[in-house]
Point group: C2
Chain length 179, copies 2
DNA sequence: CTCTCTCTGTAGCACTCGCTACATGTTCCA
DNA sequence: TGGAACATGTAGCGAGTGCTACAGAGAGAG
């Protein structure tokens, strides 16, 4: 593993823990046992570093989603997708995705590009999982759009809500209506 | 109208246009024809100014949602909520809400408090609108949670998606499944 | 007229930011 | 053994941050 790849992995860990908005090179570098000087040297600029971190986080997410076992029904698939997205590992990635999307709201790169790429890959992964659960190709695509939106919306407010169980109930309601 | 209220209204306009993340007092003050010095004088601190701006934006949103005419059915109500949320005025408020939520992801005030307050008021407004469209009290609450999540999720990715019509199709699908 | 209270402009503090210039290792190949 | 290429530490630049100290302007009250 090159030095750059190693730094990218560990930088991703750091950002997942400390957040993307307001990320600063010096504290990041200190946590990684190096200097801002070296981060710029290896990545060229802060923006390239961030693009790398976002891509790394997305790869991790996708690996987990693709490793999900098949669900017995569409209804079960939706709830199980929720459970995976709210698992400890994916939750942090989702949180960072929210930050990236917010940073990209006004068109700023590298956020817009990264988020767009993530969107597409996620939607495909969800579609695939629903197809594996028995949905037809057309239906899987339409359902995936709804499920993706609902999960995103719920995850979005999750860190602020007091009642964590309620979100799951909402997803169960949705799964019942769609399944 | 006090000077402070006037500044709050115009500051809200500015933030809605230019974004919340990375907001800086000096450019804001210049656009308002005053100085950072005076903003601190009137609001006490940047955080209090932001809290005021978020509250102002939320009031505007709520005024619009509460002014919606009754919908003929639950199915129509869901689609009409979407149309209002994607109208020009509300879209900017939603965008700012996304930024505030992202800034609050790690517990920072005043974002967490403001977003929590917004959440609650919105959910009530959506519930009310669904009740007015004929849903029973219990059902309206459950539907509102789903609709709120789906709308939030879709709005979230909206600035990045190329196909604007697709989001509406997703909402129509959802409305058909729930209505 | 003077005193007080609200408001505002000027200047600046102490700090952080991404990034760079320059010099110095360190390594590996010819 | 020499030289090129890669790697790293030190110091600092120029710009921007929220916020403050200080002085003064203006108005209303006695």
């Amino acid at each position: 593993m090159t030095k750059r790849e190693d730094l990218a992995q560990r930088a991703t860990d750091y950002v997942l823990e400390h957040g993307l908005i307001g990320l600063s090179l010096r504290p990041l570098a200190a946590a990684l046992g190096t200097s801002d000087r070296m981060l710029i040297y290896h990545f060229g600029s802060k923006d390239e570093l961030i693009a790398t971190v976002l891509a790394t986080s997305n790869e991790r997410s996708m690996r987990i989603v693709r490793a999900m076992p098949r669900s017995a029904s569409v209804r079960a698939a939706i709830v199980e997708l929720w459970d995976v997205f709210t698992s400890t590992k994916l939750e942090a990635c989702q949180r960072m995705y929210v930050e990236a999307a917010a940073l990209g709201l006004f068109g700023r790169e590298p956020y817009v590009g990264s988020v767009r790429a993530s969107n597409q890959v996620w939607l495909e992964a969800i579609t695939e999982h629903l197809r594996n659960a028995g949905a037809s190709a057309d239906r899987a695509g339409r359902l995936a759009a709804i499920v993706d939106a609902a999960i995103n919306g719920l995850l979005f407010d999750r860190p602020l809500d007091t009642d964590e169980a309620e979100a799951r109930r909402v997803i169960e309601d949705l799964a019942a209506a769609l399944g």
